[in-house]
Symmetry: D2
Subunit: 351 residues, 4 copies
């Protein structure tokens, strides 16, 4: 797949999941990275074709995580469930391997907030704050010089990009943000669970994690960081919903306008923030996830509800690309000093 590429050899741990599979697919097509190792847990020893029959190189074999930690790669992508990244991440860093963690272990920077969000103490509290939050639109300047990146969650990517520039510009009151998001089922992973069966998901919508979802503190932290605000002034109510589609997140984010703020100012603040961004686009018509599925883009539209004095920004991403694997590769590009869009799709899939 990769013998003619002169470049960075990377690996993926957790390659059998949806996000891990997308990293494999992206790196296979990447002009300046190639895969040195793919590893799985219950899928260790299986051929890639057994777990991802849609990918070429079906004969490639997944090795165990333990074995992968000894491999000679320059950078490792971790696509693991919450709590499973921390130990392998530290082992890899000790060996000088850069780490891009698609999981949630190192996203929060405060041990107390971590414990309150995740219900357990962090195993490496000293590490919190030493990782770079991998949202290039916010932390691009830091990504070139870090060896450890925590890729944002899928919901936070959409909500932060939608709301942070408005908070930073003082156009909305960060204490009254409401984020209602819908996600395709791939966001819930690939497990064999009754509540993820076709029978349970198809032709229905449900909310979950109402008021308690772990992505909320992550959104608040990043919006505060982006806008240099005290984190306690950012108060966000977040309700995620599961809808019957494979991919895509649409976040409808609203907040009270500060006195006198207008649609023109709202739109201008977003357009200014993303004028030079290769992967974020501000549109006028309410956006659809269909415009970004298959792409690393985030599209958003800005609206003002004069009647209630709220700004509404609707943002759409592909949860497995800009919300996970694509953003991870975007970060890796920056860590390696490569062109930021290298190997990342702009065009989506439709229908």
């Amino acid at each position: 797949m990769s013998q003619h590429k002169s470049h960075h050899v990377v690996g993926v741990i957790g390659a059998s999941g949806y996000a891990g599979g997308e990293v494999v697919r992206l790196i296979d097509d990447h002009p300046a990275m190639s895969l040195g190792v793919i590893a799985g847990h219950s899928s260790a020893g299986k051929a890639l074709g057994e777990v991802h029959p849609h990918l070429p190189g079906a004969e490639r074999v997944l090795i165990s995580q333990a074995e992968s930690l000894e491999s000679e790669v320059e950078l490792m992508f971790l696509a693991l469930p919450h709590g499973a990244s921390a130990v392998p991440a530290m082992a890899l860093l000790d060996r000088g391997v850069k780490v891009v963690d698609l999981g949630s272990d190192f996203r929060l920077t405060d041990a107390g907030r971590y414990e309150s969000a995740y219900g357990s103490r962090h195993p490496f509290p000293d590490q919190l704050g030493q990782w770079t939050y991998g949202l290039p639109e916010m932390t691009r300047h830091l990504l070139a010089s870090t060896d450890r990146v925590a890729v944002p969650g899928c919901y936070p990517t959409s909500a932060i990009l939608a709301m942070a520039p408005l908070v930073a510009a003082g156009l909305v009151n960060p204490e009254g943000i409401v984020v209602d998001s819908v996600s395709g089922a791939s966001g819930a992973g690939r497990g064999a669970k009754a509540n993820l069966s076709f029978g349970a998901i198809d032709e229905g919508v449900r909310a979950y994690g109402v008021g308690t979802h772990r992505h909320r503190p992550e959104m608040e932290q990043a919006i505060a960081d982006w806008s240099d605000a005290d984190i306690d002034t950012v108060r966000l109510s977040f309700t995620p919903h599961l809808v019957p589609m494979q991919r895509g997140i649409l976040s409808t984010c609203s907040a009270p306008l500060t006195s006198g703020a207008t649609l023109e100012e709202i739109s201008a603040a977003l357009e200014k923030a993303y004028a030079d961004e290769p992967f974020v686009e501000v549109l006028t018509e309410p956006v659809s996830t269909r415009w970004v599925v298959g792409s690393n883009r985030c599209v958003m539209s800005a609206h003002v509800d004069d009647h209630t004095g709220r700004a509404i920004v609707i943002a759409a991403i592909d949860n497995l690309l800009k919300g996970a694997a694509g953003q991870a590769v975007q970060c890796a590009n920056l860590m390696f000093g490569l062109p930021e869009p290298a190997g990342l799709p702009i065009a989506g899939w439709m229908p």
Copy 2:
């Protein structure tokens, strides 16, 4: 279908649409009503089986609206696009026929609000306020004695049932209500439109009518009426979304808690409001549309987000039943003095 039933002969104008077809299906199974006439516009002259191959009595022929207005029925259901109900409704009332209008022509009670919502003057402004809003949970006492009922819109049904009791109890601030709703595609009707094609709807979510949807003033009016509040104190931000499923609406409704209000009080207010209601149920787990598709029920769950001080109520209905045809039949039952649940399904369909 109906020859052995001794009772009320009714009709349906607009029988070829989704809502009209559901009225036909419900009346065919109703113990105390039977269909005297079914009428359509472009489908006039066609057999029912051509437009609704899932219904029995395929050989029944749809007549024209003009002809139907002369027919001998006791009550007519109108399932027509906005603006098309007013004239036939008045003609029927003049002949002494009761009217249950599933459309939006007579829902608003104020000519000014009507004009601002719908962009045109009402053709019969004197009628506004003379119609009963057909939400039995709110207006049951009026339904026995009226001959003209405006059935609520699908989104309003879910949002009003979720929020009105909390406003009435003074537990939330009605100026900060946010309603984010998702609907299956049947809510957009049965037209041959490119943006309703399978290719445009499947595997995607989009918002529409952001800040401008006509159901917003209807929600505000009913919440104010229910809670005896000044309508100007109810300020609601409403964003509807289209998701890839046939039926079902889920409305995630939130509002700032008034000082000191608790989850216990929120839950108690809803449970008290609906304790004796045959079609509304308050649950604890976040609800799914799958629990009500095929049923005339509305299920809801109440939550409090302490972090932001907001009450969140999530309500689910079948948009074609409790959100349209089922509610219309529920109203007709009350108008005829029949048992309110007569002919209305409680059990839903799953999977």
Copy 3:
């Protein structure tokens, strides 16, 4: 649910599955049967509302199978996986309880064919042939006097109804039948399996059990019985496919025309066979599963491909109703001497 019905008290073992849930729903609405007991295996002790939140009577508790076998019911529906029916069925019959088995344990009448189809010896080989195959269109005359009924499989129901009258009339050669069927995912049951997850089913089609599916010998046996043919002369190639929808089976069945047979004769043979059937309808336009989902009907269309000299009959059913629970209730109606259509829906659901 049932206290005012004067009639037959029945039970359901396996009530937590899809087919069992449909039996519960149908009996709850049945004018002459009521539920005395509902039982489950892993769901024993749970409230019905936990396993079927779409059904009323949520507080009803599922008991264990062992307990249910002692209950006072007149008839028991068994909705269990293959191999799990035989023992409880015999225990119930010993106590004088009629049994309607939705499973496959007693469908085949020959122990050798059973062993070859299912890969194990039948535990009660003497019983084979003592059960009535519960396809009323074929065995109605036997159903009034039997106490043990094996309800046909979902695929066989569609294929037998499509092909048997043509074989019986000598219009097609039974050695060259090809049945290609597609089924919604509910046919695969409700288990928590990775290959039934939304991610695995949505937006894809796959074949399975190619040349080996256990429904093939069942189809051949019934077509031979129906047409009084030697079973060895019926040779049927059957390929089932899984498609991304909840309910519905469409079987495209074809066979070589015998010399000179015409479309008129094909159509006439089907129309004659089903002229008085309440649940089977022969149409001219190629049928859709959408016309029967939610209904106990089977609709079919007949075609002749002159170019290849094959008759093609396309049949559609709701796999959970005419293909399982509805057919089971239809049989029970006949066993009790009730009107055959009692409690069975003719109208389907659309959209």
Copy 4:
């Protein structure tokens, strides 16, 4: 999009449809072709972003077909409805522009068969037989030297690849082929039609064109050509079905084995035929469309039903890629002497 590519400038007429949009997407990413012109009919004058919001270069404007016929391109892709290709194709050829027609105007080589299949006389009967059928696995040797290519239909691509090698090897009887295919809705195009609405397609399956579909003679012609058989000895019964998904075709193809033919021989014949093919793979497990959606691959599995003596080959493609736009680009690569896989995706999309 293309300024740095040194190479072949091509165009697309019919760029606003699904297949045309896929050609645009593929050429945008192609290493050796670039788009000189994109044209539409009702979409002429619109920006690409209006008709394909998922594609980059949204500001590119579609011109009219008339204008496009004067443009300086080396090759034109025509993605037009049946009957609309012939005139522009001849005009382009007259100007020395190579033509790759994704439509059906030039697929059949016999004027009589054309008239019988399409119900009208061909406007340029002399052209029939001068076009190369664009199935590289069959006609690769001709594609380097032709200037006019008729890309196969989507169903034929799957059925021909599945059956032709078996007919050519004398392993099956070509007079008894049965092809039952299912297709996603994108195969029916992008029109605003009631029978393509989400409400009409979702959660249902239907057959259409039973015994009369125009792809049947195309399949027979190509199978005969591939295997050097008399076309009258190839008799194929074809029934297409529409299933609720966007993309993908699965064709279940069967035929009577010739005396003594075995699964080993069937498999060997397919494996030999495709051993060196970059886009066709023979697998053992029944294939799923999910393995090829997003890819230009065709995957197939071979089976033998000993009971009926039929070979069964199940083939899956993405109808818009290997079934249309991908195959068109594959042909253009060969016409230009480029590497055959240039710009064509092997990896699919999952989930």
